[in-house]
């Protein structure tokens, strides 16, 4: 009996050991170990959720990478943008998660610096020459924690027919803020909703904020801002936020309860409003052209505010960025993936499949679309830049939560900016070090 019992105990002990070893082997899969021949690169990315059609592009890019690097398999994990910060923070706390991850460059990336490795050491002179936007990639400590990937630009799209209906010159869109407000007023006077928007998800507010802050921040202030050395309670923010608040009468009455994604686009495309602010994706332009007619869709840069420090330009920056996590042991493999995504071949594919604007200067962007041409020209303007990479995502989240209340006047701009500054200050040790 005792012998049988001992045998059972022994069997259980062996089984337990086997399970522990198996579990350990499982946890060491992917780029955490070089034990197996075919390695898995786990990629967490949010950008493919920005629009329909980007998912297939990500799959195609992964397949091309695997074809060129047969020793690697890509495990693509699409994560919604709103969830990414939470998931990445949890992964960093656990020191376990993806090998490559979508992170915005600059301050936004520095917020995760405990879990990301500096990438400037990987960059070759040719990369520095060909990959645009590296100049805004470094965080306050000087480390590049995310490599910028593809470009966007903020523009106002407008329905020429509705402009004409309001007695406006459809071929001469507003260039200054005063002209823009006058156009909004004229549209409203003719019973037309001037701007299609939605403040529930909060993005609409910050999409206006970036191009306005770009103008109001002098070059020296911009530099301080990107180094995490300029408070949100400064006059530039109050001016920009007030200008946005003053747009309230020109939105539809229910705009505070609508989302930018996708209510605002749907309403604009169905002719319910004369203008919509849009940024990242030319695929939205294609959608609007299909809905309203190519000749009927106009585009102009966000108008110049009084006090702008620059001649006309647009807010343009990276769509997202790529980072490597600290727990990734085979960093060469992870870097190979990023290098592929930045390559001429990959970005040519992104342009041809989804009209993603490349940040690789070697990539040609042939197009016969007049709107595309003007957008591409404005984005490549050397003056075009962005300050959005100076915001930690969680600070922006406060503004997103209050956007609906601010536009309806239920929350004061000052109190929201103070809350944002409070969190920005709290995060300083984490971001700057």
């Amino acid at each position: 009996m005792r012998m049988q019992l001992n045998a059972k105990v022994f069997a259980v002990a062996v089984l337990s050991c086997a399970l522990v070893i198996a579990a350990a082997a499982g946890s060491a899969s992917g780029l955490g170990s070089r034990s197996s021949k075919k390695q898995t690169i786990t990629v967490w990315q949010f950008w493919s959720g920005f629009a329909v059609g980007l998912g297939p592009l990500q799959k195609k890019l992964d397949a091309e990478f695997e074809a060129r690097n047969p020793q690697y398999t890509v495990n693509d994990v699409p994560i919604s943008f709103t969830q990414m910060g939470t998931k990445l923070t949890a992964a960093i706390a656990a020191s376990s998660g993806p090998n490559v991850v979508s992170v915005f460059p600059g301050v936004a990336g520095a917020a995760y610096r405990n879990g990301l490795i500096p990438l400037q050491g990987f960059l070759k002179p040719a990369d520095r020459k060909n990959w645009r936007l590296l100049n805004i990639a470094a965080g306050p400590g000087g480390d590049i924690l995310a490599i910028p990937w593809t470009e966007y630009g903020y523009f106002v799209y407008y329905n020429k027919a509705l402009f004409k209906q309001a007695g406006l010159n459809a071929n001469n869109p507003p260039k200054t803020w005063a002209q823009f407000m006058a156009a909004c007023k004229a549209l409203k006077a003719h019973g037309i909703t001037a701007i299609s928007g939605g403040f529930k998800d909060g993005y609409e507010w910050e999409w206006w904020a970036y191009p306005l802050l770009d103008q109001l921040m002098s070059p020296s202030v911009t530099k301080r801002w990107l180094q995490y050395d300029y408070p949100i309670t400064s006059p530039e923010f109050t001016t920009a936020w007030t200008a946005i608040k003053n747009l309230a009468p020109y939105y539809a009455k229910d705009a505070f309860g609508l989302n930018l994604y996708n209510d605002a686009y749907n309403n604009f495309n169905s002719g319910k409003a004369a203008m919509v602010l849009d940024a990242p994706l030319l695929s939205n332009v294609v959608g609007a052209q299909k809905a309203l007619g190519t000749a009927n869709l106009g585009v102009f840069a966000v108008p110049r505010l009084p006090g702008s420090h620059y001649p006309p330009f647009v807010d343009a920056g990276p769509n997202s960025g790529w980072s490597i996590t600290k727990w990734t042991k085979d960093t060469a493999g992870a870097w190979a993936y990023i290098k592929w995504m930045e390559s001429k071949e990959a970005q040519s594919l992104a342009w041809s499949m989804a009209h993603l604007i490349p940040n690789n200067a070697q990539v040609a962007t042939p197009t016969s679309n007049a709107a595309f041409k003007s957008i591409l020209t404005a984005i490549k303007n050397p003056l075009s830049h962005t300050i959005y990479v100076g915001f930690p995502v969680s600070v922006l989240a406060i503004n997103e939560r209050y956007a609906g209340e601010m536009i309806t006047g239920k929350a004061s701009i000052d109190s929201v900016l103070k809350q944002m500054e409070q969190l920005r200050t709290t995060l300083k040790p984490k971001i700057v070090g």
């Binding site: 229910d254 505070f256 939560r401 209050y402 609906g404 239920k410 103070k418 995060l427």
Partner: protein
Amino acid sequence: MSVTAAPGRTGGELWGRVRARTQPVLAALPYVAPLIVAAALVVLAPALWGLSRSVFNWQPGSASPYVGFDNFRLLADSTTFRTILVNEGVYLLGLPIWTILPLLISVFLFTRVRFAGLIRTLIFLPAVVSPALLGIMFTPILAPSGLVNTTLRSAGAGGLAHAWVDDPSLVKPTIIVLLAWANVGLGVAIFTAALTSIQPEFLDAAAVSGATSWQRIRYVILPGIRRTLILWMTFQALGVFLWLFGLIFALTAGGPGNSSTSIDYDIFTNTITNGIFGVGAAESVYLLGMVIAIAVIAWVIGRQWSHD
């Protein structure tokens, strides 16, 4: 337990008394020890570890310098934290509704309704829905163009249609009503169980003496179920601080602004979204203080009622 020798007693007697008292505890110890060890390892140790981190700029996997009470001060000075405390206070105003509604229904079903079992079962159904699912379920229902407003408009009561969870002045009352709906079934079940413990003779005697319905409730039923009542109210009050996360996360994400943020949701935001783990730990300490305060208040009230 005091082990000081009482005057006139020998050491042997005292030892005997101590042994008599401790022996049953020691005999039971081997049976409960695994549970105590497991609880200590799985619940107590991580909780204490988390709480101890409140005095550090806690960055898991990185240097976490000692910051004293900075995290506590930061929260005390934070307008967001103050808003959240106000929110918690407003949510607590739902306590009478969450208590009286199930109590009245259970008394009503207990005394005078046929098919009471079936009705109780139907009422209980919302209690099986998790808070997060409740939030997901009610998001489209309470949206500006959702089921509630559409129904009101089509019934000609468009004036009653509101932005239930998008208006900062309405979101908390809406959540209170939603919680009343979600919890009423469980309350009815618990109060019904308590009502069955009241001896029928008391109710009969009250009826024979000509007591009105209200008098029967006031002088027979309420005293008979007061322990259950206190327990229920304590759980509901604790729920305001500990169990709102799932509903808030799925329904409002704390908004609009911070007008519906609860403290458990904010701990999640500070810790996991903002990555300021030390502040999250300090907020947990505040939360612990609030929970202890509620438990003490409930205990004091309970004792007082027992002595009445």
